[in-house]
Symmetry: C2
Subunit: 483 residues, 2 copies
Amino acid sequence: MSPHRGHAIRSRPNGRLTARIVRSMLAGDWLEEFWAWFAERSERAAHRVERASLDELAGWSRDARTGDYAHHSGKFFRVTGIDVHVPGAAVPRWSQPIIVQPEIGILGILVKEFDGVLHCLMQAKFEPGNANGLQLSPTVQATRSNFQRVHRGKAVPYLEYFRDSARHRVLADVLQSEQGAWFYQKCNRNMIVEVDGDVPVGENFRWLTFGQLNRLFGVQNLINMDARTVLSCLPFTGFDRHPLSDAAEDDFRLALARSCSSAEGSLHPMPEILSWITGIRAQSEVTTRVVPLAGLPAWHRADGRISHESGLFFDVIGVDVAAGSREVTGWSQPMIEPIGDGVVAFVVRRIGGVLHALVHARVEPGYVNVVELAPTVQCTPGNLRALPAAARPRYLDTVLDAPAEQVRYAVALSEEGGRFYRAVNTYLVVEADVEDDADYRWMPLHQLADLLKHSNYLNVQARSLVACLQSLSAPSVAATARR
Amino acid sequence: MSPHRGHAIRSRPNGRLTARIVRSMLAGDWLEEFWAWFAERSERAAHRVERASLDELAGWSRDARTGDYAHHSGKFFRVTGIDVHVPGAAVPRWSQPIIVQPEIGILGILVKEFDGVLHCLMQAKFEPGNANGLQLSPTVQATRSNFQRVHRGKAVPYLEYFRDSARHRVLADVLQSEQGAWFYQKCNRNMIVEVDGDVPVGENFRWLTFGQLNRLFGVQNLINMDARTVLSCLPFTGFDRHPLSDAAEDDFRLALARSCSSAEGSLHPMPEILSWITGIRAQSEVTTRVVPLAGLPAWHRADGRISHESGLFFDVIGVDVAAGSREVTGWSQPMIEPIGDGVVAFVVRRIGGVLHALVHARVEPGYVNVVELAPTVQCTPGNLRALPAAARPRYLDTVLDAPAEQVRYAVALSEEGGRFYRAVNTYLVVEADVEDDADYRWMPLHQLADLLKHSNYLNVQARSLVACLQSLSAPSVAATARR
């Protein structure tokens, strides 16, 4: 007897979920208790991170033949080299160190309704690369090596909700890429899972509404990269008239609310956007070859680190870590330390009353599909002096020279502190009436949200900016920014 | 001055395109002229294909160190080896020869309205692997080496409509994978482009309605693989009530018409389907390593070909080709020659009056994202005697033992004749009330069509079957099957 016989089939999900998310976005004035908890967690967390020579890291060793660095278990990740050809580009060929981490990890946020309002279980988490100790991270942030307990540490709390997600309500579940400039074909599973029933809350965890989280997006180096990418996958656009339209305090926020409504139009219909992406992917002749780390042209190993001869781009360094709040009590590892802070910006404009962001079809060596949609500007300005003039990003000056009243968001946020040492970018949303260009397209948030249901469309920086832009829809977010 | 200032933004495309496609599906009784033309083209096309030793192919040579076969130009494709690990699978580890073709080609069908009815410009094309000389192929079927004219042949006709598609109306444009068992990470650009204006028609080309094509799907080895995959990407589901519902001749066709309507429901909502795919991709620990062809365990080179020691699976052979109707007049190349014909089948059932197909999340070594959705059954039964019993496909007996009245479609069709020598599968659509299973899900056609807008979801065999299933919606298709 079939389990389906007589079952009514289900029609498409309606906007009820969006309504619940919006209700949670509108709830969140009280942050005093959060700050008291976060300050207390920060005091309790006793961490020490010290730089160490790459060649003296406990548990790691350098392969004599290839020069690659790997963990003795064969797990976690490996530092190797790549050789990249991009015919016709401003920089048509280069070599660089890169992290290979073939394991797919889980980045998961648990949500639950309290008194009719959705809350996210967020974690105050230490990572060795964090500039400021703790940051706010997803409920679960675990590599496969973590959850198979290669380092014989404590079990990852709340992991079972995500590994056994079919028992709960899955709001988002999609594989997404990470930094294509520093990772070779890495991706993680981004999940948002809603539970009923009791959830015990550990001392490093706290329930926050989407409204509270949106306000905390105004604080520098607080919401970590993993939390931002998971939050960007929230299905928040399933509405005919977005409820936030009624709460909009000004024309910008009204255009932003419209941008979130899948019933609003767009400058380009989706088939046209998809055809543009297909065309760029089909025409890109990028070749990325994994090569030994030893002997990479222009990269040198000295003083226990690997650096570019220009002194720019990034170093590969080692760190020794002592920490109390992780699964294990101490460890050593290689990390990537970027030289200089970056700029990650969406140029936005209102088209037909609907806010559109200018996305860039960007080639990075580590992408599975060669090209992903990136922010309008994504670069480290300090590196430009080592590059040909044609490598200067098309809209960098638009962003750097924007008058203050056109800058809608400007907050320094960190990249993944588990692999990158103090990697900080200033995330910007800038309104400007610029022209687009062959490799750029104007898209409203509801189109970006449609693409975010699938893998390999938006890169991690663009996903961060989508989450930042979403956060602006909360009323008076600027007024609550602190620190 | 911005080009967008004052521009009305566009809302989502409506069902008008679907209505036009359906009108074309309902037009197509007259095939006499087609058969006269096709017979004439077949007579005129003087081809000769002879088996030749892999080691004596003009323009090709075997690398002394790796044993790989490559063209002297470095273009077209290369035959090398892979070493595959799939922990926990029925066959957890194996090695095999494989074709590496990193170039992305174009498979494009040009469409145009005549007297209000859409027509597709189809080509009678010779390929060396075709069992029967000519097959019906897309307007354009060209590798990048073809259109960069590496072999200094004739220009590819109609190519500019696809390379410069922004000047026309793009109905579909998406990168799709090909055989993951024989190609390493190959994909092609699948395009359907509508033009106005005059299109000169070459002698190997002919305008056909969707209705005529649907009838021709009933003919064995006629519609080639490239035409099938392009036609599967047709956006035919944008309707509230599918117009074919009114033309349905029986309950099966009514359920099929409903299956094409995006307003109808589905057993699983799309977020649940996407989460299922994500989970399987995240948990698959497949490792595929490209290795030299020389010294692959269990594969031997003898008599100018490479074969498996069991005599099963496939051989790598060489062919010398003399042909009149291709871009060049003669050439030699390696090909894959499968041993024995295959079975490719969708098990379908009506759930809530809507036809659902049972898709299988299948691991193949050549997929970029490890797993793609495949037919319910996809195998070569003859190979099973060399494999462990657990490798027998879950629903193979359901398909092979189905009573005749449950078999809705059964036609032998060829795989890509440019790389595969006489690779023939019987494509089947079988109605059966079976249970699903962890790696299988019931999905209506409108959900499959939604996934077909994106890359890496449906494998090439599933796409072929989607096109076969679509073809059944035409009235009385069975009655017109011939040959």
